[in-house]
Amino acid sequence: MTAALHVAGVRKDFVVRNQGASARFTAVQDLDLVVPDGQFLTVVGPSGCGKSTLLDLVAGLTAPTAGRILLHGAPVTGPATDRAVVFQQYALLPWRTARKNVELGLESIGVPRRQRARLADEHLHLVGLTGFEDRYPHELSGGMKQRVAIARALAVDPRVLLMDEPFAALDAQTRESLQEELLRIWRATGKTVVFITHGIDEAVYLGQRVAVMTPRPGRISDVIDIDLDPVPGQDVRSDPAFGRLRHRVWSALQHPAPDREVAHV
């Protein structure tokens, strides 16, 4: 079977102007990654290592400088609704209701109005927001906004769901409840998910596999299989097996320089 996502030898350079001259800055290099269809992959790595760059490339929002990205065997040439992205900051249009926000992607592919509304309501139901269809984003809590963003992404029926630290801005309780929700939806829909996070706990808790990225230039240094099967309502995170896997990821992340904070002003 063809992999859902195939990233092969990808490099991405940015032009940065410095000392009057333009310089190339290599954000990611020699990036290889294969995600089988239906898998939940989490990507973890320090700030600035190129996680978002990778995601933008897969989303087709930017083009790689070298290498190739295949989605179900076909090359990525730009954004399309076979992939959908969920961003950390929700990125909902504040002047649209929840329903209208979910309809946005459907408008771009020309779904008729009636059907749009029906599809939107279905997906809002899927994320547990029935009854909130006519709320504006400012009338929703952070967690609810992120649910809308997830519904919006799912509504275009993408084969791959790309998520860039979607829960980082939420408080711990809300985050945990959304994590469970996401796993439920993933199981229900069978989508391929690429989930980027800073949090080791989150990566281990959610992922079937955890890809560890290291910076300068960014590449995937380890891929760790997670053989936990979290059961809702149980405190998996306090389980010793969880602690062991967590430690493996933690160790894989320990390569880079310790003084990152100051160096990254």
Binding site: P79, T81, F87, A91, Y136, V156
Partner: protein, 288 residues
């Protein structure tokens, strides 16, 4: 508890919840009940200053604090206003001014928004046009009144052109700001959903810029009346500016004040209408 000398509690004041907390607590903030009673109360309190001002205007001339001839009591001005309303003159002037203001404002808006969007989105266009726009923007509209009259004549064209000129820049600048400050993440996410450039503009950039643009439109509304008053002093046959000037020249001082009062009310009305429109278009925003 490793207790010690326990003293009396600090003054048990009740802190009033700010709106934010009420919203978090799920209370309905926008449609507050008892709204009507509140509004009446607020009106009464708010009127204090207005009534005081009116009283001063009425009494000062009567007491001889100011010259009655040149500053007649408010009641006299209101009487003149009533006469102007009754004999239909006010309607004529009002219509003339409002028509000019509206046409001018509409032209300015329909020209400034596309140009502002172009400048806001394209650094190249911005670089090309900025200097000349800066030059014009900083040229007081009224200084150009003689030029407009010379080039466009004393008719409607020059008056409307002056309104357009005065209204153009606030709308232009606010459009540029509005378009420039659209959250790039919104654009990025819309792009990731497969929206095309035109869709991006109509569905994301423009709606996002509306509140900012409206600030400019409201400034333009005020500017339109301001310059119109001056423009109507030259070669006009009707309009509120004409009314004030003609009354002044005919020594009909109460009529002049009636005209000024009308201008004030028109200003208030235009502002109120634009505010209302703004609110309609911004219902999605948290009430401030």
């Amino acid at each position: 508890m490793s207790s010690s000398t326990l003293t009396r509690p600090v003054a048990a004041a009740l802190d009033v919840a700010p709106e934010d907390y009420r919203r978090r607590a799920g209370l309905d903030v926008a449609a507050r009940p008892g709204r009507f009673r509140l509004a009446v109360g607020r009106l009464a309190r708010g009127s204090v200053a207005v009534v005081a001002f009116a009283a001063l205007w009425e009494v000062a001339p009567r007491l001889g604090l100011v010259d009655r001839v040149f500053l007649p009591p408010l009641s006299v001005a209101l009487g003149a206003l009533a006469d102007l309303v009754a004999n239909g003159q006010l309607a004529v002037h009002l219509q003339a001014s409002l028509t000019r203001a509206l046409i001018g404002l509409s032209i300015a808006i329909s020209a400034a928004i596309p140009l502002g969007a172009a400048i806001g989105r394209s650094p190249a266009v911005a670089r090309l046009l900025n200097p000349v726009l800066e030059l014009f923007r900083n040229t007081a509209a009224l200084a150009l009144l003689p030029v407009f009259v010379l080039v466009l004549g004393i008719g409607e064209t020059s008056k409307i052109a002056l309104v357009v000129y005065a209204c153009f820049f606030p709308v232009l600048l606010s459009t540029i700001t509005g378009v420039r400050t659209v959250d790039p993440l919104l654009l990025k996410s819309a792009r990731s959903l497969g929206l095309h450039p035109l869709q991006l503009f109509t569905k994301v950039t423009l709606p996002a810029a509306v509140p900012t643009i409206f600030t400019g439109v409201r400034m333009a509304g005020a500017a339109s009346i301001l310059v119109l008053v001056a423009a109507e002093m030259v070669g006009a046959r009707a309009g509120l500016g004409y009314l004030v000037t003609a009354a002044q020249q005919n020594f009909a001082i109460p009529d002049m004040y009636a005209g000024i009062l009308t201008i004030a009310l028109v200003g208030l009305a235009i502002n109120a209408v634009l505010l209302l429109a703004e609110r309609r278009l911004s219902r999605w925003r948290p009430s401030a």
